[in-house]
């Protein structure tokens, strides 16, 4: 068994994260302006208003997206907001339905009355544009096979003009399409809970007002959990997240020290 320098870096990361998870702890967080803005937006929605939640992610990012989605769903359900779930990616379907069902149960919300999951439609741009004209024609049946017209909470929901806003839960660039097609063409308010890796991609849209609010990454989930006062896996993981960040910083510094020393001694 041959151990190389990269293996040592791997082992170090695994050790620090496992120890941090075993130690646990829930640090006090100062919520960022982004999280506060999103919280204010959801809190401002009138009880009974309909919000579309789009699960635009794959199974791969569930450890990061799950806490974000749960934090949002808990806030929305606790406020009495009615949710219409959709998915622009096939894999978001199973996850989205389960997350809505589990979280809805925590707040005694009933399927069909307080929330509904319409499922997946392929080609994201086509799905967004088609729903802008008619949601019922785009989704004649929900994820469970119920006819659109038979679902009580969807009575009167024709297109985006009957929806207060869309919240995209994304690990990639699909939220872009909600802004460029849903917002630009049909004027729907777009907000997003996104994987941290996508935060800088969406910054220009947030700055231009095309995106109303954005919460990003596990840290964002932890901040949102503290804002709504409900604990979740975002907060639980923050110590491990901090330790992992510090570990990467130490590796960067270590790599540079070695680099400059080797350059100084002329060995490189």
């Amino acid at each position: 068994m041959k151990i190389e320098s990269r293996h040592l870096a791997f082992i170090g990361l695994a050790v620090v994260v496992v120890i941090a998870m075993l130690v646990g702890g829930r640090p006090d967080l100062t919520p960022s302006a982004d999280s506060v803005r999103m919280h204010e937006y959801i809190a401002s929605l009138a009880p009974g208003s309909v919000v579309m939640v789009s699960f635009d992610h794959e199974a791969s990012s569930l450890p990061e997206i799950g806490p974000l989605a749960k934090a949002f769903l808990r806030h929305a359900f606790s406020r009495g907001v009615k949710l219409v779930g959709v998915s622009l990616l096939a894999e978001g379907t199973g996850i989205g339905y389960r997350l809505m069902e589990e979280t809805g149960r925590e707040y005694d919300c009933e399927y069909g009355k307080d929330f509904v999951f319409l499922g997946f439609k392929p080609q994201w741009v086509a799905a967004i544009v088609a729903m802008g004209e008619s949601i019922s024609k785009t989704y004649p049946e929900d994820y469970l096979g119920n006819t659109y017209q038979d679902i009580p909470m969807l009575a009167g929901v024709v297109n985006y003009s009957d929806v207060a806003g869309v919240v995209s839960i994304a690990d990639g660039s699909l939220t872009t399409h909600w802004m460029e097609y849903g917002h630009a063409r049909y004027g729907i308010t777009v907000s997003a809970f996104v994987a941290a890796a996508m935060v800088t991609t969406y910054d220009p849209y947030l700055a231009s007002g095309q995106m109303h609010a954005m919460v990003g990454g596990l840290r964002g989930a932890a901040e949102y959990e503290s804002l709504i006062g409900v604990g979740g896996s975002g907060g639980r993981a923050m110590l491990a997240q901090t330790v992992a960040h510090l570990y990467v910083i130490v590796l960067i510094i270590l790599g540079n020290v070695v680099y400059f020393r080797s350059r100084h001694t002329g060995r490189k």
Binding site: V17, E91, T93, V129, A184, A195, A207, A244, H245
Partner: protein, 204 residues
């Protein structure tokens, strides 16, 4: 521990074996993942799209104009044979044409004009610090764009501008790297949480 958690734990560890090096256990798990993922997309596409948008309306309600997209879809399979390959160009034409048609106004309006408009905002509208930020954003956009302008040699004023743009780009890439590290670590932490809590039951 339920059987599902046991399987999920074993498969998680099988994938992690790749960290040592590529090996048969990892490859077997990876092959299973690929097959199952494609199978999942197949089922969801069939049940969530083809059934309720095509087959139910066509065969249950007699919505006969849907025969055209059905035929177009079937023509897509022409790709598998050399002699019928050209047939798939028609459904491809629908996909490419639709995408291009809706993209023109979206790209012009939402991606270009609104971003330009958000860059050029009035000064003295808020605090002095807000004005500084506005000027920095304007300078950042112009200099970064000049970095990507390759029709002239980057010398003189253009050279200075493109070099400044490099620094803005580095700030962007650096920040993005930081956030990407956060994302990847979050995913790993999620898996560690599963292994410690559900699989090994070491934490509550």
């Amino acid at each position: 521990m339920d059987f599902g958690t046991l399987i999920a734990g074993i498969l998680t560890l099988a994938i992690f074996t790749f960290l040592y090096r590529d090996n048969p256990i990892y490859r077997a798990a990876e092959s299973l993942l690929i097959g199952v993922s494609i199978g999942y997309v197949l089922v969801i596409t069939w049940t969530n799209t083809l059934m309720d948008l095509l087959f139910h309306p066509l065969f249950r309600r007699g919505d006969w104009p849907l025969v055209i997209p059905l035929l177009l879809g079937a023509m897509m399979f022409g790709r598998f044979y050399r002699r019928t390959g050209w047939l798939s160009r028609f459904p491809m034409a629908v996909l490419i044409g639709s995408g291009a048609g809706v993209a023109i106004p979206a790209m012009l309006d939402a991606r270009t004009l609104r971003q330009i408009s958000a860059t050029v905002t009035p000064l003295f509208a808020g605090s002095a610090w807000a004005d500084v930020s506005t000027i920095i954003v304007l300078a950042g956009v112009i200099t970064t764009l000049s970095y990507f302008y390759f029709s002239r040699e980057h010398r003189g004023a253009l050279g200075f501008s493109s070099k400044t743009g490099t620094y803005f780009l580095m700030l962007f890439f650096g920040t993005t790297f930081g956030y990407t590290v956060m994302s990847r670590m979050s995913t790993f932490i999620g898996r560690v949480e599963f292994l410690l809590t559900d699989f090994l039951r070491l934490t509550g």
